[in-house]
Amino acid sequence: MIFKVAWRNIWRAKVRSFIVIGSIAVGIWAGLLIIGFSFGMNNERTASAIGTTTGHAQIHHEDFDAEPLSTAVVADSSTVVALRKTVEALPFVSGTAQRTVLGGMINSTKSARAVRIMGIWPEEERVQTTLADYMVEGDFFEAAGRNRLVIGEKLAKRLGLKLRSKVVLTFQDSEGNLSRASFRISGIYKTLNATWDEFHLYVHHQDLEKTLGAPLVHEVLVRFEETVDTEEKAGALAAAIPAGLAVKSWKQVRPELGFADDMMAIMLVLVLGIIMMALLFGIINNMLMAILERRRELGMLMAVGMNKRKLFLMILVETLMLGFVGGPIGIFLGDLSTRAMMRIGIDLSSKQDGLAELGVQSIIYPEIVPSYYLIIAVMVITTALIASILPAIKALKLNPVEAIRGH
């Protein structure tokens, strides 16, 4: 009957209860939308980075990361083939691609910039990455030709380059000596990551080999079947390859993406915390009002023998019920809204350039994150529990004789 009393008590002041329940529902709804939006944006950025450039993991010579010299190769060509077979045999690996990676300079008639030259095997690259989908001009090594170069749009603009412009690349050869070779722009790409576009350019590995003298493999890109548990998978990958080589997960290759994930998790907890804090004060205020209005009744209950434990329980149940009504409504609305947004997307075209700097598309598609539903449910219950303490203490401190008289 205590539950019945608590439930009916909620509806004694309908307007006030509706406002509190509405606040809880709106708070949770907003929280879920923010979560969906944040995850959608972050996961899209991560998926984009993994898909277009990074892969889920990369294998390098163990010295490569300290100083990416041209001599720090993974292995000779035949050993790389065997290595890739070993890696591709792992159950969670969907494919691999190899790359020559050289630090160098690009010179145009207008300017020069430090760049990272990616010597690729285009057929593999097209299978293992989606970079070919981000061409804004020209093609991604589909047409025949020698010394062709694919450059990021942002870098091309900085250097005043257009399609078919001629440039000179300076880089280390296999002996560590500086070499030069001229290339012609055959394609201009624009990924979601403007920073990447400004620093990386792509050439056919064969064109580099003419200068390098031999195919040099500095990097083996590894794609996993799914983007989950990538750290564990990277660990398993490291255990499967020979000593002297190092495996880096996408979070290590692009630490800013991992930091963004961590930051997002912290920010979401903070945002939810702020929402819950606001709800906390709303609920406390509501319950204090209820206690004030019902002090005669509470005094009577204490006088006739309702012990403190039961009185506390009654107020606790009443407070929790506010959360139990508002919580599911908020979760339902949040889920409904997020699903709708998942279909139509949130168009932020007006902030396109800024979002591109963050590696994000201008239309964000929120994601449903079921684990956060549980977190929110726990937070609402905890908030209601905390909110019940002060009103319950107030009630317990009532003097029955004075309360019955309405003092």
């Binding site: 009957m1 009393v5 004694r12 006088a303 006739v304 023998g305 309702m306």
Partner: protein
Amino acid sequence: MSKPVIEVKNLEKVYKGAVPVHAVNGISLTITQGEFTALKGPSGCGKTTLLNMLGGLDQPTSGSIAIGGVDITTLSENALIDFRLRNIGFVFQAYNLIPVLSAKENVSFIMLLQDRPKEEREARAQQLLEAVGLKGKEDKRPGQLSGGQQQRVAVARALASKPQFVLADEPTANLDSQSTANLLDIMEQLNKEEGMTFVFATHDDRVLKKARRIISIEDGKVLSDD
């Protein structure tokens, strides 16, 4: 001879302040089972303070109050709450029913606090409501009942816990003549037929006419005991 239900000895209640007020000043009295007693006196004479102390709602400055042989002044706060629940019935001037519960639920609620089984609660609540003349009104909420009917529910509630006695503080103060007469008839009937002890704090002549014992109080002392 009936056994004593309430035994008060040298009871004093002093409210401290710049000038200490002796609200109850050395009262001793005994109330036996089956009494229909009224405490009367002018406002501020100390009758409500005495009633509150008899009900364990207020602690005396000195003296003792034994209810059914138990000195309630020595009980801890929690023990006293439980003692009130099981031994004392209360009827208040302003009825103080729970507005969100029906008449029957209001009566049952006390038994719920006593952890009595549902069947017993239902049956006794029904029986008590019938005894106070509210058959057919069981599902009405207090707001749907007249003042007299609400006070009758309060009497049924007071009896629900099977107390040793019922304390009623100005139970008729908010009632019209007809409702007062009905209520007093019911309480007198319960007193005579079931031997329930009633102690009233009142200055209502209608109650005093029905009372078989009237204790007059003035300045915190018993002036007369008839």
